[in-house]
């Protein structure tokens, strides 16, 4: 049974309430935040150790490794967040509530973006330090790249994780579903970040990649909002 159409103000309020609920629950134990962060850091270190030659890490590896760590940590965070929902059956409760379904999606999406952003705040200086990469030379552009890439990745990830809550083999199916679809996001993110690390940055190229990322964000979020309701209905 679909809830009746509600006004946009109601939708925004619902999204905010969902986000606040998630943040409140998370802040109590910070379990997902700490474990995701630790995983992301160990991911970066793992890659650094694997690719080190004669005591030096590959210079061009910084952009790729950063985004791989974000993708892997993001997948983990998505799995853990929705696992928590599944265990306390809160998702079912949320869906039964007289709330606008897409607004629930937006609330969860914002929560995931917040979590990933927190991880990125730690990862960027770490990668810059380990790979001697001037990641902080164009902070505004790097932030734009990271935010637009994170939104794209999280948009698809939140949708698929929510859908997988009741499925079998959900842990392995999330990457199976998520990674092929988010390949354009990762490619654009890595290319843009790599360009920002060049000694003489070509900002036009970075602008192009950010524009592509934003276009992908629009497509993914729109598709997700459109399909969230029928996908979550039994």
């Amino acid at each position: 049974m679909t809830p009746p159409r509600r006004s946009r103000g109601e939708g925004v309020r619902t999204a905010w309430l969902v986000l606040r609920k998630d943040l409140t629950v998370e802040v109590r134990s910070l379990e997902i935040a700490y474990t995701t962060l630790f995983f992301a850091v160990s991911c970066v270190l793992f890659f650094a150790f694997a690719l080190v030659k004669e005591g030096k890490a590959p210079e061009d590896g910084a952009a790729g490794i950063l985004w791989i760590a974000i993708a892997f940590a993001g997948t983990l965070a998505l799995g853990r967040t929705f696992e928590r929902e599944r265990q306390s059956e809160t998702l079912r409760a949320l869906l039964m509530a007289p709330a606008d379904r897409p607004a629930i999606y937006v609330g969860k999406l914002l929560g995931i973006i917040a979590l990933l952003s927190a991880a990125e705040i730690v990862l960027v200086p770490l990668v810059a330090f380990l790979f001697q990469a001037p990641l902080l030379s164009h902070p505004f552009w790097l932030a734009a790249v990271l935010i637009s890439g994170t939104i794209g990745f999280a948009a698809v990830g939140t949708l698929f994780s929510a859908m997988l809550v009741r499925a079998r083999s959900r842990d392995v199916l999330l990457p199976v579903l998520l990674y092929p679809i988010t390949v354009p996001v990762i490619i654009a993110g890595v290319r843009a970040t790599a360009e920002l690390l060049q000694p003489d940055v070509e900002l036009a190229l970075v602008r192009f990649w950010v524009a592509l990322l934003l276009a992908l964000d629009v497509v993914f979020v729109t598709l997700a909002l459109w399909t969230f309701e029928p996908l979550m209905t039994d």
Binding site: L164, R166, A167, R168, Y179, P184, L231, D234
Partner: protein
């Protein structure tokens, strides 16, 4: 199976058997020579791959929003065909590229996006097989995202610096090469329709089996 199936299947068989001869009778391409003849199978199978992805996406959307089981069966069949024709494209392409470009593979936009689309089709099949209850809707959602990739694959060669031939090649083909291409394309299209119908029939029989088991339990 409908009445038109067997006659058309016969026609498809004949056209396919004839296609190598049709292709052999056409002139060579000046820079690529003999290996360019792979084009007459590579381009139609790539088209069928993209068409399958679109059919799967549209059927999935209709299944998600209208709930018709027929559309779900169609989507499942189309996804399998996307994997099949995608595999053919991704094998014939590199075999041609080895001679024409000097490399088996390159990470240009069209190839990367096609490989990605193929993986989405595989993911669809994996979800349907191992996802458990609710996996039909899950896969339908995935198929929609996969369909969004199709126009991108098509226009990518025209807007990016890429080694893959542009879409302008096909409309500017001289008459004999064009004739061979469209003959091959027609055979592939006919085969696609037939395979789709056959595969949907398999799904219908499976659904019939499920309902029989259910009636047995009552």
């Amino acid at each position: 199976m409908p009445k038109w199936f067997m006659p058309l299947a016969g026609l498809a068989g004949v056209m396919f058997a004839a296609s190598p001869f049709v292709i052999a009778s056409v002139r060579y391409e000046s820079t690529m020579g003999l290996v360019q003849k792979i084009f007459y199978y590579h381009m139609p199978s790539a088209s069928m791959f993209l068409i399958s992805a679109v059919v799967c996406g549209i059927a999935s959307a209709r299944y998600l929003f209208k709930g018709s089981p027929r559309q779900d069966r169609l989507a499942y069949a189309a996804a399998e065909l996307a994997v099949l024709f995608g595999a053919i494209t991704l094998v014939t392409g590199p075999l041609w590229a080895r001679k024409a470009w000097g490399v088996w593979w390159t990470w240009d936009v069209r190839l990367t996006a096609s490989l990605m689309g193929w993986m989405v089709a595989w993911a669809y099949l994996l979800v349907r097989k191992y996802g458990g209850p609710g996996s039909d809707k899950l896969a339908a959602g995935l198929a929609l995202f996969g369909m969004a990739n199709v126009p991108f694959v098509y226009i990518s060669v025209n807007y990016w610096r890429t080694i893959h031939p542009k879409t302008s090649v096909v409309p500017t083909l001289p008459a004999d090469m064009g004739g061979a291409l469209w003959f091959s394309f027609a055979s592939f299209l006919l085969l696609f329709v037939l395979l789709l119908r056959l595969r949907v029939h398999l799904e219908e029989q499976r659904a019939k089996l499920d309902s029989l088991y259910l009636s047995l339990d009552e």
